[in-house]
């Protein structure tokens, strides 16, 4: 059988170099990796002739042509190495051995050398092994860019020569003991540009940042003995003007996570004891909250690892920005470092390799999103458990990858969940209150400008409150399987401070309670409430004790647990005392209740009395509304009243005389007697007016007014008769408080009453009784006196006629006046008889209701 062979066309160079390594930064990284694998301690990357060069002027290159010189101090290569390894495409020593020079090898593809093609059109390689001569290899990459199907890559000849130190120096390269110098000439990319005013050096800054991220901050775990240095001598001034974060000249370092250590909550989980155990440490602002050693569930899949995660709350994000110059979200999230070098694109902005955002979108707000956490997963992979797909496509998704990233039981999520429990359930108070969310950007600005330092943050709780919460949630946060826990440490200060604080609070509350009890300020309800709380507290302590007893603990933690036990005892004692107090209080309260009931009965009786008194007072008050109690009058008015009384006294005998004439002479004309009656009636009114002058508004007296007749009678008798009829004892009975409203002249009613009283007085009455009541549809006022009574009762209704003498009260003119007034009021007056209420006469005045 005949055989065929692949041919390697010359164009494979372009495919590997320019096309496969499609990013300048990656190209440089690949070269750095090669240096690392060659046990270099130091790699220097120098950019020369970027400002001023002859790139566009010369066909080939001169000393003024742009270039990158990458120098390392690795073991270097001799001519055999160059021929057999460097020029052997796709050959990688990593494929035959993972560890070399006591380092895990970083390069894996054997294509890194083609990065030089990506970067520049020409390459001069200078190499020297310790004790050997310098080898110089020259490559013009253009020679490989032939479009010919028959030209194979190996057919392109490359020139090389051996050089002395002085010859090397003549070519502008400083001699060296061992290592490799790559002189990449006529650069394909513009690493800087000029905008007419200044040089733009962003690409250089970006390169440094890129390399920083690619360098494991722990420098590949083992030895801190590898350094990358960037230089660009033409740009010293420009570099000096840059912000710290944008400086591009100097050592490439990754210190972000060390800085963050003091600002954030972090969790570190690493393999110990050859990977059979894992130790997890949770720190908050540098203070260890707990650590736990457990049997590893991931051995032997993931033997040698360290996962460090930093939770960034709003403040931490702002501090991140302040320190790194970029927002944490732009910086990236969780990076994977395999054997010391980063695996892109994992963790870069927009890359969700661990599916954090997907999980948050599907799950709850309780999950941390990619933008809330930064960190790294460092894996030292001796067994090649993890394979890199390409320089930009991360790892092969094999079983080990799944053990690392599986959401359900992967290593990463195990660690993340512990952090989540702490920050979401334990430290949630650190976040900004909902109502102040709109102030976030303002706060961020202040932090970044330095106006606000960590101690100023007002939303953070005081340390005591914070500790208490940490304590409460700590057990839940650990969430470890007790069978797998080898050793547990919990910050004993936290427990102790919690106990001390709780104790002080409980003591204070207890002594307050006792003092309140002494002062009788405590209710049964309050005691029951305290008892309930004590029971809850006791239960909680019991739960915590049970939880902690499952773990093997350090001495300090055991001491703290003993404190909890002691504290629980105190709580129980207090509970007992409170229960006794409660019983006492209940007894007292039942006594009080009894006393209260008795008091209520007495209060109710007193209230009734008071109501009665108030009613009486109101009646009196109402009575006062018709006649003022006393009216201040002037001297003139007083004289006027006096004169009226004097003249009245003069007229009075004349009326008596007329009475006797009328009585003895039957021939006197009735008309005359009637007119005399009119005169007498108005004389009475004048007298009444005079007597009321001090009691009432005169104008008011003559006018009609709507009054309650019962009230007015009471008032008139009480207020006015005291002047006119001092020697008569009045009694008014209106048991049912009967009322009768009408529009009457107060003067008319006064005259009516005056006449009745006057007649009684003439019959020598010393008592007058007025009974007011309602009978059927009549309002009745019975007026009776203790005088001699009507001497001739049979005369009946005629006694009210003018001129009819009744041997009661004189001529009878008075009674006629009374009748006229009553009739005008649409009422009726009648004589009931003698000796009805009192021994004298009783007259009844009645009105229809």
């Amino acid at each position: 059988m005949e055989q065929l062979h692949f041919k390697t066309n010359v164009q494979i160079k372009s495919i590997i170099g320019k096309d496969l390594i499609n990013d300048d930064n990656i190209a440089i990284l690949e070269l750095v990796k090669n240096s690392f694998d060659a046990d270099a301690k130091r790699v220097e990357i120098s950019f020369l002739n970027l400002k001023d060069n002859d790139d566009s002027e010369v066909e080939s290159y001169s000393h003024k042509t742009s270039r990158i010189i990458l120098t390392d101090d690795g073991v270097g290569m001799d001519i055999v190495d160059i021929r057999e390894k460097w020029l052997n495409i796709a050959y990688s020593e990593k494929k035959t051995k993972s560890r070399q020079y006591d380092r895990l090898m970083a390069g894996a593809k054997g294509v890194g050398r083609f990065s030089c093609d990506r970067l520049g059109k020409y390459l001069n390689l200078y190499s020297k092994k310790d004790g050997d001569t310098f080898i110089a290899l020259k490559i013009d990459w253009k020679k490989f860019e032939i479009n010919d199907k028959d030209t194979e890559i190996q057919s392109i000849a490359l020139d090389y020569e051996e050089l002395t130190s002085s010859e090397l120096l003549q070519r502008g390269i400083l001699p060296f003991e061992h290592g490799v110098v790559l002189e990449i000439i006529k650069l394909r990319s513009n690493w800087v540009s000029y905008d007419g005013n200044r040089w733009i050096t962003d690409k250089l800054s970006n390169l440094k940042k890129y390399l920083e991220k690619l360098i494991n901050p722990n420098q590949a775990f083992e030895k801190n003995d590898f350094g990358i240095y960037l230089s660009a001598p033409e740009f010293l001034a420009e570099n000096a003007e840059q912000e710290d974060n944008d400086k591009f000249i100097g050592k490439v370092e990754n210190t972000i996570f060390q800085k963050l250590d003091f600002k954030t909550t972090s969790i570190e989980c690493k393999s110990i004891e050859g990977g059979t155990q894992i130790q997890t440490t949770l720190k908050d602002k540098g203070e260890t909250i707990y650590w736990v050693k457990e049997v590893s569930d991931f051995y032997p899949s993931i033997k040698d690892f360290k996962i460090t995660l930093y939770f960034l709350n709003t403040y931490a994000k702002a501090f991140f920005t302040k320190q790194t110059g970029i927002r944490s979200v732009d910086y990236g999230s969780i990076f994977l470092f395999l054997n010391g070098f980063r695996i892109p694109p994992y963790g870069e902005f927009g890359d969700d390799w661990l599916k954090l955002d997907q999980r948050r979108a599907q799950g709850y707000a309780r999950f941390i999103s990619a933008r809330d956490v930064v960190g790294q997963i460092e894996i030292l992979d001796v067994d090649e458990s993890f394979q890199i797909v390409s320089s930009r496509e991360g790892l092969v998704k094999n079983d080990n990858y799944d053990r690392l990233t599986n959401k359900k039981n992967g290593l990463f999520y195990r660690v993340l969940r512990r952090l989540e429990r702490y920050v979401v359930d334990g430290l949630n108070w650190d976040s900004i209150p909902e109502k102040d969310r709109n102030k976030i950007s303002e706060i961020e600005k202040k932090i970044i400008s330095g106006e606000l330092v960590e101690n100023d943050l007002k939303y953070q709780e005081d340390s005591n409150t914070k500790r208490r919460r940490i304590y409460e949630s700590i057990h839940y946060i650990i969430n470890a399987n007790p069978q797998k826990v080898i050793e547990l440490y919990i910050n004993e200060d936290l427990i102790e401070s919690k106990i001390t604080e709780e104790k002080a609070l409980a003591e204070q509350e207890f002594s307050q309670l006792l003092s309140d009890f002494e002062n009788k300020k405590v209710s049964g309800e309050l005691l029951a409430q305290i008892l309930r709380r004590k029971a809850e507290e006791s239960e909680e302590l019991e739960k915590q004790l049970a939880a902690f007893s499952r773990y093997t603990t350090t001495e300090a933690t055991s001491k703290a647990i003993a404190e909890i036990q002691q504290y629980k005892k105190t709580i129980e004692e207090q509970t007992h005392i409170i229960e006794t107090l409660k019983k006492q209080l209940e007894k007292i309260q039942s006594e009080i209740e009894e006393t209260k009931q008795n008091a209520n009965i007495r209060i109710s009786a007193a209230e009734k009395k008071q109501q009665q008194a108030e009613k009486e007072r109101d009646l009196i008050k109402q009575a006062n509304t018709y006649l003022q109690s006393t009216r201040t009058i002037s001297e003139e008015e007083e004289s006027f009243i006096h004169i009226i009384n004097v003249y009245a006294a003069e007229i009075e005998p004349a009326f008596e005389k007329i009475d006797s004439i009328v009585e003895s002479n039957n021939s006197i004309s009735k008309d005359l007697i009637r007119e005399m009656g009119v005169i007498r009636a108005f004389f009475d009114k004048i007298l009444s007016t005079a007597s009321l002058l001090t009691k009432a508004n005169i104008k008011k007296l003559a006018d009609k007014e709507i009054i309650n007749l019962s009230d007015y009678i009471v008032e008139y008798i009480n207020k006015c008769s005291e002047v006119l009829f001092r020697n008569i004892d009045f009694k008014i009975i209106n048991d049912n408080h009967v009322e009768y409203y009408g529009a009457y002249s107060l003067l008319d009613i006064s005259v009516l009453l005056d006449n009745l009283i006057s007649n009684a007085k003439k019959e020598h009455a010393d008592k007058i009784q007025i009974n007011i009541f309602q009978e059927k549809d009549k309002y009745i006022v019975d007026f009776s006196d203790s005088g001699n009574g009507v001497s001739d009762p049979v005369i009946g209704e005629h006694m009210f006629d003018v001129g009819v003498t009744t041997r009661y009260g004189g001529s009878g003119i008075g009674l006629a006046s009374v009748k006229k007034i009553v009739n005008d009021m649409k009422g009726k007056i009648s004589f009931l008889g003698n000796n009805i209420y009192l021994k004298g006469a009783t007259f009844r005045i009645e009105f229809d209701i």
Partner: protein, 234 residues
């Protein structure tokens, strides 16, 4: 002739009216029956005793006018209590609204106060600007319908004078006859415009002084004279 007089006063006027009006006019052949409305009567008290109910008083007066043959109204000015916001003037003005033709006399011991109240209805410059002119005209017309004013209680003279006016006397007599003698007899001939009306309705036409009422009276005289002349011939 027999007619009614409505007296509105808060005091009893029965005896006074009987003595000074009724007896006098009776002697002259006019039987005048007084109808008294006493605004301070308990039936006009508002239920809460806060005052007197003007509407109830006016309503009572109107009922009386409508049911009785009232040819004259006399009213005191002070008819209510001190606290009530109305006087006899208000009652009279309210009656003018519905019965403008009935003769009305207002009397008062303090007639000046009554006149002041009436004058307050007169249009002032400000009132003319603020009030609709029709309202002003109506107010003026109302005032003009109060036929006489008396200072003091002596309204009797004015009442007597009114009935001594022969025109009034004749007209009132005619109305009385029509309304009282055979009120429900239907008029069928002699004066076609009133064909189909009852005598009582014709009485009201005359009372209201309508053109046809006046024409009917003239016609009545002519036909009565013609009838009398015819009898002479017999």
């Amino acid at each position: 002739m027999r007619t009614h007089c409505l007296i509105i006063d808060d005091d009893n006027q029965e005896e006074y009216f009987n003595t000074h009006v009724q007896r006098v006019l009776r002697a002259e052949g006019v039987e005048i029956v007084p109808v008294f409305v006493k605004p301070t009567d308990r039936k006009y008290l508002k239920s809460d005793h806060s005052g007197l109910d003007l509407d109830a008083i006016v309503s009572d007066c109107k009922n009386l006018i409508d049911t009785l043959d009232i040819s004259i109204i006399v009213s005191d000015c002070k008819v209510a209590t001190r606290k009530d916001p109305f006087t006899g003037v208000d009652i009279i003005l309210a009656l003018i609204e519905t019965h403008p033709k009935i003769y009305k006399i207002l009397y008062s011991a303090t007639i000046k106060d009554a006149i002041k109240q009436i004058l307050s209805l007169l249009p002032t410059k400000a009132k003319m600007e603020d009030t609709d002119v029709n309202t002003v005209i109506r107010d003026l017309a109302k005032i003009a319908k109060i036929n006489d004013f008396v200072s003091g209680k002596g309204y009797e003279q004015k009442v007597i004078e009114y009935f001594r006016n022969p025109e009034i006397c004749y007209k009132q007599h005619l109305i009385n006859v029509l309304k009282e003698c055979a009120p429900d007899v239907i008029f069928k001939s002699c004066y076609p415009p009133f064909n189909g009306k009852t005598l009582k309705e014709i009485g009201r036409e005359i009372e209201s002084d309508t053109p046809q009422g006046r024409e009917f009276q003239e016609e009545l005289i002519r036909q009565t004279l013609a009838y009398m002349v015819a009898i002479n011939h017999e």
